[in-house]
């Protein structure tokens, strides 16, 4: 139940971020100077921290999705709570690695 909540909430978070992501990418075609400004803005520490949040959302959503695909398409394995905890643990590890690289 908690795993599905995390999966849904991370999906909603990513869906909210995606339009902003595409808008900024779109600047590459229409306004090069504005894109450079946006990229400089993302160098701020607080924005990097927010990016770490996005990395967590993306990883936990992807690993959670793989967990569901395995659950529904391969023979059943007991210990589903452990797999869900592993998915969150992997995502935290990836996020921590990201933070180490940007700071």
């Amino acid at each position: 139940m908690y795993a599905s909540c995390i999966h849904r909430l991370s999906g909603i978070g990513l869906a909210m971020f995606l339009p902003a992501h595409f808008l900024v990418l779109g600047l590459a075609l229409s306004n090069e100077a504005a894109l450079d400004g946006a990229l400089r803005w993302t160098d701020q520490p607080l924005v990097k921290l927010a990016e770490a949040g996005l990395v967590f959302l993306l990883t936990v959503h992807a690993v959670g999705g793989i967990r569901l695909l395995v659950l529904e398409n391969l023979p059943w394995r007991d210990g589903q709570k452990t797999f869900a905890a592993l998915a969150v643990g992997c995502s935290a590890l990836v996020t921590f690695t990201f933070l180490l690289r940007v700071f």
């Binding site: 139940m1 599905s4 569901l68 659950l71 529904e72 398409n73 059943w76 589903q80």
Partner: protein
């Protein structure tokens, strides 16, 4: 001096309210004992359903402190919070009166899921040999001990969201028959369980597995149905 339990029990139909009772606490007391004490000593009009009292018949399930449970084998000491119990009818089913639900929708869905054996032989044929260690027999064995208590049905989020969803118990039953090598109703059963509200609606939250009093795993059965249905679809057996 006897310790007293503070018990709130749902009274009325779908419109109703909790009534508070004070019930003597006893060793090894079950939630069903508490409800029975209230009916015999405090309020004879209290309506509830039970039969065997030993976890065989599946008729005494209720919502205890917010969680669906079989009350005859749920010890008060395991679920009471500071000596307090709140007992309500099962969710996801219409309330007839007090703690008794109308189970019709639950059992109708067993029929909708083709949850009945379709014989492939007559009495004149030899009895087919089924190996106890065969993979299909083992898969059926894992799911066969359902007592129809509807705890999983009450616990299922998908049933709450979608009244047409067949629910964990009916699909679990269908899975036992999918693995019955003597059964001749496989095609229509697969069509039944893959129709709207069938196994493909399951979100795999696994609450049914967590709360099943017999430790069955309907999510595993439903995942098996999904795999079987996908395989049949690829082969063109069902559409």
């Amino acid at each position: 001096m006897t310790n007293m339990l503070s018990v709130k029990i749902w009274r009325g139909g779908s419109e109703g309210a909790f009534t508070a009772y004070s019930v003597p606490s006893q060793d090894s007391q079950t939630v069903l004992d508490v409800v029975t004490w209230v009916q015999r000593n405090a309020d004879p009009a209290l309506t509830y359903r039970f039969a065997c009292r030993v976890g065989m018949c599946g008729s005494c399930a209720m919502t205890v402190n917010g969680v669906p449970r079989w009350t005859c084998r749920t010890h008060v000491s395991k679920v009471a919070k500071d000596g307090a119990l709140t007992i309500a009818p099962l969710t996801n089913l219409p309330v007839i009166k007090d703690l008794a639900c109308d189970m019709e929708a639950f059992f109708d869905k067993w029929q909708r899921a083709d949850g009945r054996f379709v014989p492939s032989k007559s009495r004149h044929d030899a009895i087919p040999a089924i190996r106890p260690d065969g993979s299909k027999r083992v898969a059926a064995d894992e799911a066969i001990e359902c007592i129809n208590c509807a705890v999983c049905y009450a616990a299922c989020d998908t049933v709450t969201w979608n009244v047409d969803y067949l629910g964990p118990a009916a699909l679990n039953r269908a899975w036992t028959l999918v693995n019955d090598e003597r059964d001749a109703g496989q095609k229509s059963r697969l069509e039944a369980v893959t129709a709207d509200g069938g196994c493909l609606s399951c979100h795999s939250h696994q609450t049914c597995h967590e709360l099943c009093p017999n430790q069955l795993n309907p999510t595993r059965s439903i995942a098996g149905l999904k795999r079987t249905a996908a395989s049949a679809w690829w082969k063109g057996d069902v559409r």
